[in-house]
Every structure is written in structure tokens, then in C-alpha cells.
Amino acid sequence: MKLYGKYFAMHLKALMEYKTSFLLTCIGQFLVSFNVFLGMHFMFRRFSNVQGFTYNEVLLCFGITLMEFSLAESVARGFDTFDSMIRQGEFDRVLVRPRNEILQVLGNRIEFSRVGRILQAAAMFIYGFSVSQVRWNFGKIIAVLFMLVGGTVVFTGIFLIYAALCFFTIEGLEFVNIFTDGAREYGKYPVSIYGKRMLLICTFVVPYALIQYYPLLYLLDRGKPYYLFLPLAACLFFLPCFLLWKLGVKHYTSAGS
């Protein structure tokens, strides 16, 4: 953890060299996700509810999902450029240092321009809470915390899969973004509105529903009590992701020099 802090400071120092670029990217990032909110807002001005969810309920769902995603992004988005790290042989350097590989990869790629997105997510999160008509109690606050933890773990797992696949393909695989950025886009609505089949896939294959739909029902007093714990079960998803990464490291063949 201390090492990650050190990496953080390094990036901050490097950043000071290019101030304007940083500021503009931040603003850009902020506006992009704001867009999504506007789209949703205009749609609900025509329709009062979607599959039994009201505007305020969807807002709550969106706020939480966006927050989960942004947390994961601030931790693990560094995997995004992992293919270039492999192609340029930078991963060799990681391997000759006596520290965990994942920590080093993430430490080498910290992007502060995501600050804009996190601010935006925080704003949505708070707004979603303030307009929701949820009757809060202790269990529900715990549920939100579980959702944030589970969601961060699941999205981080997907970023890790993306990086692990680079070991086998060398090129980054854009299609994996369907599961990250795509999930953020579609995640603004509870997963159930996409149909029963989609809900099944999102429950058992990539457990989006466990960090979003089910605990949301719990918050809205429509779910069973055990829905509260489903986000924790979603954390199991990280295990196969990690194993794939380990397999990738073993498969690594380095680049010529």
C-alpha cells in the first residue's frame, strides 16, 4: 500500500509538467458521463416508468452503478494500456523487481484525468440518494456498502481479464470493453429490463445482477432478505479472473530486444 502511494506521488509529480492537458481532460471526462444522465432524463420526461421502475429508482440504480464502476476504474483502469506494456517489453522490468506484478502494473499507470469521472459519479451518487424515496435503515446502508465493494471487485475482475488476454493475443481486445464501459452504459437501468435471458447471464456468468438488480430490489423493499448478501457472492467472480492472469504470466514470452 505504501508503494502504491509512492507510485501515486510519482505520477502527480510527472503531471505537474503538463498542467493544461490535465485540466482539459478532466473537464472532458466529466462532461462525457454527464451526457448519459441527460439521455436518461429526457427519456423519462416521455415515459414515467420502465418495467416498474420509476425515474427516481433508476436514478438511484445509475448513481450506484456509476460509483461502483468509477471506483474500479480508479484502481484498475491501468490495465487498459497493458498491451502496450507487453509490446514494448516494459513487463520485463516488472518481472525483475521483487514486488507483486499486479501492483506494479497498476502503479505504473495511474491516470488522474479520471478525477473528473469520479467527481461526476459522486455527484450522481449523492443526487440518486437524495431523490430516492427509500426508507433507510441499518440493513440498507450495509447493502449499499456491499454493493460498492462487490461492484468494484467485479469491474476490477473484468479489467484484469482484459489484461490477462493480452498475454495471449498481444493486441488489446476492444470487445472486452463491452463488459466494462458497456456495462456502465447499460447498468444505468436495472438489468431485469433487458429480459429474462439477460438477467440469467448477468446472474451466473458475469454477475452484474448481483451487484445491481438484486440488492436494488432489497433497497426498494421488493426483494428477499438474502439479496442483501448477493454483492459479496459476486466477489467470487474475481477468482477465475485472477487465475487467468496467473496463467498469462506463465505464458509470457517477452518481446525481442
Binding site: K13, A14, S257
Partner: protein, 262 residues
């Protein structure tokens, strides 16, 4: 102590002719070729030795270095460095080695060199006392004092190489790999780097394995040379073995490569 016994490493490379149509063909059916980068390589290096590891491009030098430093896993054979298997006990092993890749920088581009060093202190968990002592010593030997405050992107190649070498030695490793440390350097920097390596080996008893294409490096630094070609060890001994009857080592080596069809 480094021992390599019957180490083999094979790469699979895809192959196709130039042109768009063959690129299209390769999309559906890829042809692969297997390249034996290392084919039954064995040698032993004692503690405190300085060894030149030479051979033509693509002979397997880098592959050997990468196996010894724990980056690659060989298919066959055994390898032990100070009793550890590099790719199995990676973290424990790399704590004790330093690696300089002449062609790749490990310094952070945009921040002063000193900051890169501070990060390494954290990565290797060097205690403050030995860090200060090592830094002072390296600064003195490599004349870094003026460079530490400059960002790496503003250093000349020679200055940067000196910083790179210092960066690899902050944790006082007992084994140092130098992969073409003098590539692209001017005469003055080359001499400074050579001088330093020699001193390091003599005074600190650091084991040094050096790959280079510069025969003057070899003559100035190493008494023992391991020559590799097409993944096999062709010669292990003094460079004088090859040099016999030639004016320059360069010529002798070129003739040696040709006679082995390398």
C-alpha cells in the same frame, strides 16, 4: 554461483509472405515456425566472476539473460542462481540481482532522476541507511551529483546510462546483468562505464554478466567469454582462443561467425 544445465527454449513465430493477399490468407490459416532460441545450453559461473556473453544478433543472448533473471521459463533443463530457480522463486531471486537493459530505460521520463531512485528504494525496501551509503558511493563513482535533479528526458544518452546503472545497483545486488550497456555511447561515456564496471567487480566482488557487440568492451573487461550461436554454446574460455593470428578481435570474430555459418 550460477549453473545452467541443458536449458532449451523454443519460440513459435508466425510466418507469411509480404503483401496484402498473403496477409489475408494468414488471417484464416497461420503458418508457424519453431525457432530454437536455446538448444541444450549449459555453463557455470562462479561468484565474483565477470563474464562476457557474446554472439551474433538472434543467437539467444537475450533469451539466456531473461531466463537467468526470471522473466522467461525454459521448456527443458535446470537452472539455479545462488540455489534458487529464477522463474519459480521469482521474488526472492530478483531481490538479489540488478538488470540493465541498454535499450530500455527504467527511469521515469518526466521526473528528476532522484525521484526514480526514491521509488526504487521503496520497491526494493532498502533501509534508509544503506540507501544513503549506496547512493553516495554510486554518485561518487559515476559522477551523478549534477544529474540527479534533472528529469530523465533531458539527459544525454551517456548521462542516462550512468543513471540507469546506478538505479540497478541501489539495492546492492550480488549479481548484475548488463545487456549492451555501451550501445550508442560516445568514447568518453564508454570509458567511464567500463571503468565503473571493472571497479564494481573488483571492489564489491559483484558477479557481472555482460552482453555486447563491442569487442573493446570484452577486451577491457572480461577474461572469460562465452560465445553462443544458433542457441548453442560454441566457445567458453578466453577471447585469445579466437583472436590467434588476427589483427583485431572484430575481424577474428567475424571470421569465426562465418566459419560456423552464423
Amino acid at each position: 554461483m550460477i549453473t545452467l544445465e541443458h536449458v532449451c527454449k523454443t519460440y513459435r513465430v508466425s510466418k507469411r509472405d509480404a503483401g496484402f493477399s498473403s496477409a489475408l490468407k494468414a488471417l484464416f490459416h497461420k503458418e508457424y515456425e519453431y525457432i530454437h532460441a536455446l538448444d541444450d545450453v549449459s555453463f557455470t559461473i562462479k561468484d565474483g566472476e565477470m563474464v562476457g556473453y557474446i554472439g551474433p544478433n538472434g543467437a539467444g543472448k537475450s533469451s539466456t539473460i531473461k531466463i537467468l533473471s526470471g522473466i522467461l521459463t525454459p521448456e527443458g533443463g535446470t537452472c539455479r542462481v545462488n540455489g534458487l530457480i529464477p522463474w519459480k522463486n521469482r521474488i526472492e531471486h530478483v531481490r538479489n540481482i540488478g538488470v540493465v537493459f541498454g535499450q530500455r530505460s527504467q527511469l521515469w521520463w518526466d521526473v528528476p532522476v532522484m525521484d526514480s531512485f526514491e521509488l526504487l528504494k521503496e520497491i526494493y525496501r532498502i533501509d534508509t541507511l544503506s540507501y544513503r551509503r549506496n547512493l553516495e558511493q554510486l554518485c561518487h563513482m559515476l559522477q551523478l551529483s549534477d544529474l540527479l535533479k534533472m528529469p530523465a528526458r533531458q539527459l544525454s544518452l551517456g548521462q542516462r546510462m550512468r543513471c540507469e546503472i546506478a538505479a540497478s545497483l541501489l539495492h546492492s545486488p550480488s549479481l548484475l546483468f548488463l545487456d549492451e550497456p555501451t550501445i550508442g555511447l560516445d568514447a568518453v561515456s564508454k570509458l567511464a562505464v567500463r571503468d565503473f564496471i571493472l571497479k564494481l567487480n573488483q571492489e564489491q566482488k559483484t558477479t557481472v554478466i555482460l552482453t555486447t557487440h563491442d569487442m573493446q568492451d570484452i577486451e577491457a573487461l572480461t577474461s572469460r567469454v562465452i560465445l553462443i550461436g544458433k542457441g548453442q554454446i560454441l566457445m567458453d574460455g578466453s577471447i585469445e582462443n579466437i583472436k590467434k593470428g588476427y589483427h583485431s578481435t572484430e575481424e577474428a570474430l567475424a571470421d569465426f561467425y562465418r566459419s560456423h555459418d552464423l
